[in-house]
């Protein structure tokens, strides 16, 4: 991939302070996204993947959320220290986001055409009829039939998949260089999910956009991503090219996760679940956060946080037993 990542996150730390406890949602997440690539952030609930995305987009409400360390650099500029007004100019034009729930992310009282046109007006790209025409063109581009007609409709008049298309249209309206998609298809049916993923992939290729895909679905990652960053308990525990990581993982968690998914060849056999539950982020275990659920765990894992072990160029895993896991 390219030498200069479009986005790089270094040792990001985010915590939520509730009256009762401190929830360490992100604990030193480090990753980067190259131009024009699709990077998947893979994690279960409690992995901190969505909080990471929200922190990058500066969407966290503070309090209760506090970024306590680390940096986010987008096109070489430090995002977190940038004045909010300046950041807003970036948003939409250079970096945009697609959410899981389109119904609550779109405004119900304006027509979708108006909402998209408003984006052009707000950023001073186009005005009046020109803005409206461009909105219609955009709706057509994301695969909405009769865009001129549908532009006058309101969000509740669209089905789930169509709504998601509208949100994607808004996100790509100003041709951003980076699109962050937070579980964009989780709420959708399988056949519609396939449509939306194909659309995102086509748009990304056509407009030379980079994409961060945040998901819990191993299948989706395998299908569309170039690189994958596996998160557990607020850290990136393994990363590398998708095919390499998913076919021969080097972190015990990635391996266990892959083994717990039922496949055709396992029919009739017992699955190999990961014992226990995802970690409680207010009480993350010492050493390697995964050790209580890990079948490779040794005493070392209980006391010492594992260092990042390089497996191959562009591939690393934070696991004391990376070699052993890799050879399974």
């Amino acid at each position: 991939m390219a030498d200069h990542p479009i986005l790089s996150v270094d040792n990001l730390q985010v915590e939520f302070r509730t009256g009762r406890e401190i929830v360490h949602a992100v604990n030193g997440a480090t990753f980067s996204v190259a131009p024009r690539e699709t990077a998947a952030i893979l994690g279960e609930s409690g992995s901190g993947k969505s909080v990471t995305a929200a922190a990058i987009m500066r969407l966290l409400q503070s309090p209760p959320a506090f970024v306590t360390g680390g940096s986010v650099r987008f096109k070489g500029q430090d995002v977190l220290s940038m004045p909010m007004a300046e950041w807003r100019r970036f948003c939409g034009r250079d970096i945009a986001m697609v959410f899981q729930d389109a119904l609550t992310s779109l405004n119900p009282v304006f027509s979708v055409g108006w909402q998209i046109a408003e984006l052009f007006r707000a950023h001073g790209v186009a005005r009046g009829k020109d803005a409206r025409d461009r909105a219609i063109e955009l709706l057509g581009r994301v695969g909405i039939p009769d865009p001129a007609l549908r532009a006058r409709d309101y969000t509740h008049q669209f089905s789930g998949g169509m709504r998601q298309r509208v949100m994607i249209a808004m996100a790509i309206a100003l041709s951003p260089d980076l699109l962050t998609a937070d579980e964009p298809t989780t709420a959708l049916d399988v056949t519609v999910q396939a449509q939306i993923m194909e659309l995102l992939e086509d748009l990304r290729r056509e407009s030379d956009m980079a994409m961060i895909l945040i998901t819990h679905d191993l299948g989706v990652v395998a299908d569309v991503a170039d690189t994958v960053w596996v998160m557990y308990a607020g850290r990136v525990v393994e990363h590398g090219p998708v095919s390499a990581v998913l076919s021969r993982p080097a972190h015990a968690y990635t391996l266990a996760l892959l083994n717990s998914v039922p496949r055709a060849r396992d029919k009739g056999r017992k699955l190999e679940p990961i014992a226990g539950s995802p970690p409680d982020l207010a009480r993350i275990p010492d050493g390697c956060a995964f050790h209580p659920r890990c079948r490779f765990a040794t005493n070392l894992c209980r006391v010492e946080a594992p260092p990042s072990v390089a497996i191959a160029p562009g591939r690393a895993a934070e696991c004391h037993h990376a070699g052993k896991v890799f050879d399974v």
């Binding site: 279960e44 609930s45 999910q193 993923m197 191993l218 395998a222 998914v261 039922p262 029919k267």
Partner: protein
């Protein structure tokens, strides 16, 4: 029906009489207010003529996308909703015609696990109270003196600890709560368990725990499952036979191997092909993937004839006419299509 319960069930289905026999189940929900005098009120045809058999000890997987009516089938079988028409014979007794006393008796043997492990447990009751509730309702099932001990042994059998009996649901994770729900369903030792998306709300790593537990319970006790889910790989792993639903009807049914390896209905083919695959060995054959146009139409206003025809790449004129039905002459693997593969 114990050890070989997980074996292929094609023989089971034919020889033994089915434990549950559903015929032409229809459930229409009226929409809008009932004030439209004279005019016939509009209805949502959530389930529109569903028939299937369930043999003792087998698992029938019911798959389909949202709005296909699979959860409504579950709710009507449990009489949480009253069906519009149809019959459901449970050991020869019609669930839908049962009076309250008979129904209470059926519920001793027909139990359910719900999708949402957070909402399906009363937050104000502790685990012991939750698991013992079935015996409060059916006091004849277990003497009071034995209940406390039985709660604890049930907890152990679903992989929790005896001490957990004193705790409240909010102190457990999603997977653990689902285990509590399973323990509650097992308290009456049912013969049929309806699993309504039991793992959909759980994390991937935890799903496998619950799937294993359900399979182990089936092996041990020979319970038959109606396993409802939208996750095709989980259904495949669990089920002996599969029924694929689309807009309130079953479009294809057969053994797990038949349906997954040799799908005949275009919708089944598309559904299977849309499922993201983890197998890199097939070098991501994206070109062969079928991506359907459009979305599932509203069940309030489905297309005439075959309900899938407006998204089907093989649709012909005949598809708009009479609704295709499952062909009973074809043995186990039946399909409701005019141009099956």
């Amino acid at each position: 029906m114990s050890d070989d319960a997980s074996a292929s069930s094609s023989t089971l289905t034919k020889d033994a009489p089915p434990i549950l026999e559903v015929r032409d189940l229809v459930k229409h929900f009226p929409i809008g207010s009932g004030f439209s005098l004279g005019r016939k009120a509009a209805v949502v045809k959530a389930v529109d003529g569903v028939s299937f058999n369930l043999a003792a000890g087998e698992t029938l997987g019911l798959v389909g996308e949202s709005g296909c009516g699979k959860s409504t089938v579950a709710r009507t079988l449990l009489r949480l909703e009253e069906p519009t028409s149809g019959t459901a014979l449970f050991r020869g007794e019609d669930i839908f015609a049962a009076n309250p006393a008979a129904l209470k008796n059926i519920r001793l043997r027909l139990q359910v696990i719900f999708q949402d492990p957070y909402a399906s447990l009363n937050p104000r009751m502790n685990v012991a109270e939750i698991i013992a509730e079935p015996w409060v309702i059916h006091p004849e099932a277990l003497p009071v003196s034995e209940r406390a001990e039985r709660v604890r042994s049930l907890l152990e059998s679903v992989g929790l600890r005896r001490e957990h009996a004193e705790r409240y649901p909010h102190e457990f994770s999603g997977g653990q709560r689902q285990r509590i729900g399973i323990a509650r369903a097992m308290a009456l030792e049912p013969e049929v368990l309806i699993c309504d998306e039991p793992v959909s709300a759980l994390d991937v790593s935890v799903q496998a725990q619950v799937v294993n537990l359900l399979m182990e319970i089936q092996e041990r006790l020979g319970i038959a499952y109606v396993f409802i889910a939208h996750d095709l790989s989980v259904v495949r792993h669990m089920s002996h036979r599969i029924a694929v639903m689309y807009l309130g009807r079953i479009v294809e049914t057969g053994t797990e191997e038949d349906v997954y390896n040799n799908p005949r209905h275009p919708y089944t083919k598309a559904l299977l092909s849309a499922e993201p695959s983890l197998d890199f060995s097939e070098t991501r054959a994206k070109s062969s993937r079928i991506i359907l146009q459009g979305e599932v139409p509203s069940p309030a206003n489905p297309p005439s004839g075959c309900r899938f025809r407006n998204r089907c790449w093989k649709a012909q004129e005949i598809c708009a006419g009479d609704t295709p039905v499952l062909d009973r002459n074809e043995g186990d693997h039946q399909v409701a299509c005019y141009a099956p593969e």
